[in-house]
């Protein structure tokens, strides 16, 4: 599985604990592409999967998930989780299309930010476990959106800018991919080069120690949830642009894949450890896996089983080598 290791950053001979999942996921991506290509060569006689068009298209689709996963990673690194993602995406999209005009995108982001702020305050100050609190917020957002739209798909359409960001191309490169790249750069800088980023890792490892070191733990937790919400709002806005309008349940398909991408990429589900590069690769893995399975005309049931099994198996494999630190 780990035949190739396209991950050179700290390429010592021995792969460090943090990089192992990244190398393995990258290897698995190669396996997916190889198996898919063999299939297409056999059935159609072409290697469609290796064409730049196909890959760019996958990355474009992956951008929506990638942006969500970037935010989710911040929260998971803290040792928390954000289950309000589905309806934060939908709310961002719906409010953006409702407002329309030049304010559409800022409103979409703002709605996400607001949801994130509520999540953050609840988790950091009220000390409610994030799993419960964000689940509750998700239900509330769903209720608010149903009330807002009357239960029907909103009639409003995405603005031109939203559509451009989602499906437009610059020099053949999808704009959505560029947006994802910008978000990724930002998150990477945040995690590696800022006090907030370092504090996120510290809190995820040992909140008490971080607190006693004078890290403004509450503020950091609130910030991370805000960013996560805002990125979900951004993703929702782009998704609305992609399908030209917002609709009920449009975010439902993103929660589990986002968590899976983060965790497959090697971020510890209990926080404190993980590299952003891993999350990127995790997103690509999930998108390709989905796509190849559908190309192979795997029925939906089979796809779900394989998809779930892959996640579980990869996590089992990671868990094995990991020292248990109590």
């Amino acid at each position: 599985m780990t035949t190739s290791a396209p991950e050179p950053a700290t390429s010592r001979l021995k792969i460090s604990e943090d990089n192992k999942p990244i190398v393995m996921s990258a290897g698995f991506i190669v396996v997916i592409l190889a198996v898919g290509t063999m299939y297409t060569l056999y059935t159609q006689g072409t290697a469609t999967l290796l064409s730049p068009e196909y890959l760019l298209q996958q990355l474009q689709v992956g951008a929506f998930l990638g942006i969500v996963a970037a935010g989710m990673m911040l929260v998971i690194l803290l040792g928390h989780i954000d289950l309000s993602i589905p309806w934060t995406i939908a709310a961002g999209a719906m409010m953006a299309t409702t407002v329309g005009g030049p304010m559409a995108i800022p409103v979409g982001l703002g709605v996400g930010l607001l949801v994130g702020l509520v999540n953050g305050l609840g988790v950091a100050y009220l000390r409610i476990p994030s799993m419960i609190f964000t689940l509750g917020v998700n239900a509330v957002m769903r209720g608010l959106m149903v009330a807002h739209t009357g239960g029907f798909a909103p009639q409003t359409a995405a603005t031109d800018l939203m559509q451009y960001l989602a499906v437009g191309k610059i020099l053949g490169i999808p704009v959505a991919l560029l947006v994802w790249a910008v978000v990724s750069m930002g998150v990477m800088l945040l995690l590696q080069r800022t006090a907030v980023g370092k504090s996120i890792y510290a809190i995820g490892n040992k909140e008490a120690a971080a607190y006693l070191a004078g890290v403004p733990t509450k503020w950091v937790i609130v910030s991370a949830f805000c960013l996560c919400g805002m990125l979900a709002g951004l993703s929702g806005t782009l998704l609305a642009g992609y399908s030209t309008k917002a609709y009920q349940g449009m975010g439902d398909a993103y929660l589990l894949p986002a968590i899976a991408a983060v965790v497959i990429g090697g971020t510890h589900i209990l926080g404190g450890r993980g590299r952003y590069l891993g999350t990127l690769i995790g997103v690509i893995l999930i998108v390709l896996l989905n796509s190849v399975l559908s190309i192979m005309q795997m029925p939906e049931s089979g796809r779900q089983i394989i998809y779930g099994t892959v996640i579980i198996v990869m996590l089992l494999v990671y868990g094995r080598g990991r020292k248990v630190t109590s």
Partner: protein
């Protein structure tokens, strides 16, 4: 190994040559000890003397490395507490072990509830609770009330009833009276006497001398893991007991103390500093360049005092004056702000001091991130320089600063914690038992460091459970008892006799 009990017929529990080591620390060293049925036996000793380990071995919480335990002359071994319970040895530990949200009856029968058809028989359980409570004179206690709603002293009674439910021959009390008021203590003692007359062997650890006088038939003194002497209560004076507890062993060397300054300007002043019932109106002044030790037995409020100062405890009252200004410290963030400049070396480096899986570099810089940032980004050069400086200054033995801090030895880990705080350039350093579980070499480096920090004008508040350290390091020692400073020792007054005497609140013996 070969010391036979004076009267083998009477010795119910007999320990011979028992040794227990934790890592490099010998907690119990070849101890012979026995206790008889129908008597109250008090175990005395200062912190770390081995009393708790003794109890833990007798009650099956830990296993001895060497030596044997005999019960009524038969060889016994307790692999876990339930095994000891089955043999009639029951321990009431220092921390209350009741589940606050269950009823009194539930708690009393928690380990072995009466059953019917495989389900818990609530009626039988209630009857059993009523009987046991009646036995200790608490008939008025409703077995169905929730433990959470009971005052502390009543909970202690429930704890005793719970222990009696296991039909003990040996009842061990680890500071079981420390949470009780004088009136409650009398009640407990009355019960204990009655149990003794029923033929139960009672083993008690207490730091209150007058309580020991009131209840004990026999006393045993422990020191540094060794059993020093066992004598009939009253056979020794308090002064002799203190002498036995002290011993004479110098194991560490301390840097020389400077002569006391004529008038150091106060760096930190506390006035009527209080928190809940753990800190009671504390007045303390620490001058610039001064090392002030906090003495006393474990758990007399020293830790709370340090945590409170550092902004961790909510609801402290009184005045805190730092560098001449009254300050309000509500969080560690406040504590390390410019103008306050506090640092706290916490008690447990593994959970409070370090993020163990993270790198040495990350751990060193976590308290100084703001200082090391330019704009929103961390200044990589400044960071590297600071990390190198910290490693140099504390002479931390590291392979690479990118290694996880968990790969370091205990002493080096503690150095990382200290270096982390030195990086913030603190003016007042609070230390919460910083040398616990680290090697002698590192300890001495820490002593020297503290002295050199003091010489540069920093103030140091130093809590240690090791009296030798307080004596060797501190310019002044404030001894705490039950949330109060009972005595401040200065200069030549700082000796083990005075510290122990004040810690036990028996000033007369020290005179």
């Amino acid at each position: 190994m070969s010391a036979p009990p004076k009267d083998p017929a009477q010795a119910h529990v007999q320990l011979t040559g028992v040794t227990k080591r934790y890592g490099g620390v010998t907690a119990l060293d070849n101890v012979d000890f026995s206790c008889e049925l129908g008597s109250v036996h008090a175990v005395l000793g200062e912190n770390g003397a081995g009393k708790s380990t003794l109890i833990k071995i007798m009650s099956g919480v830990v296993q001895p490395d060497e030596g044997e335990i005999r019960l009524d002359g038969r060889l016994a071994s307790f692999s876990h507490p339930a095994a000891a319970n089955a043999q009639g040895i029951v321990c009431i530990f220092q921390e209350l072990s009741l589940l606050p949200d269950l009823s009194v009856a539930d708690n009393i029968s928690i380990s072995d509830p009466p059953r019917r058809f495989g389900l818990i028989d609530a009626k039988a359980q209630r009857r059993r609770a009523e009987e046991l409570l009646a036995r200790i004179g608490c008939e008025d206690l409703n077995p169905m009330s929730r433990v959470r709603d009971l005052p502390l002293s009543r909970r202690q009674m429930v704890e005793i009833a719970k222990a009696l439910a296991k039909n003990p021959n040996v009842l061990i009390l680890d500071e079981a009276t420390s949470a009780l008021t004088a009136a409650d203590v009398d009640t407990v003692f009355e019960i204990l006497r009655r149990l003794r007359d029923d033929g139960i062997s009672i083993l008690t650890i207490s730091h209150r001398m007058h309580e020991i006088e009131a209840i004990a038939d026999k006393c045993s003194v422990f020191r540094n893991g060794k059993h020093i002497e066992t004598f009939q209560q009253g056979a020794r004076s308090e002064g002799e007991i203190v002498q036995m507890m002290i011993g004479r062993e110098i194991t560490a060397h301390f840097p020389p103390k400077p002569p006391p300054p004529d008038s150091a300007e106060p760096m930190l002043e506390l006035k009527k500093y209080s928190w809940e019932d753990r800190l009671k109106s504390i007045d303390l002044t620490v001058g610039a360049g001064e090392i002030v030790g906090l003495g006393g037995l474990d758990g007399q409020g020293q830790k709370e005092l340090l945590l409170g100062l550092f902004g961790v405890l909510k609801g402290t009252s009184g005045q805190v004056i730092v560098q001449g200004n009254e300050v309000d410290i509500n969080s560690p963030q406040d504590a390390k702000k410019a103008g306050v400049d506090l640092a706290l070396i916490p008690e447990d480096r593994k959970t409070e001091g370090l993020m163990l899986p993270m790198s040495i570099a990350d751990n060193l810089t976590i308290a100084s991130l703001k200082r090391l940032s330019r704009g929103i980004f961390v200044d990589a050069d400044a960071m590297t320089a600071a990390i190198e400086d910290g490693i140099q200054r504390m002479q931390i033995k590291v392979g690479s600063s990118a290694d996880a801090v968990s790969t370091l030895s205990g002493g080096n880990q503690q150095k990382v914690v200290i270096a982390k705080w030195l990086m913030t350039e603190p003016k007042i350093v609070l230390l919460n038992d910083p040398t616990r579980g680290i090697d002698v070499g590192t300890k001495q480096e820490i002593y020297r460091l503290l002295r050199s920090l003091a010489e540069t004008g920093a103030s140091i508040v130093y809590y240690s459970t090791d009296y030798e350290e307080l004596i060797g390091c501190c310019d002044r020692v404030a001894v705490m008892y039950d949330g109060e400073i009972v005595r401040e020792l200065q200069g030549d007054e700082i000796n083990e006799r005075n510290i122990i005497a004040s810690a036990l609140k028996m000033d007369e013996a020290a005179q």
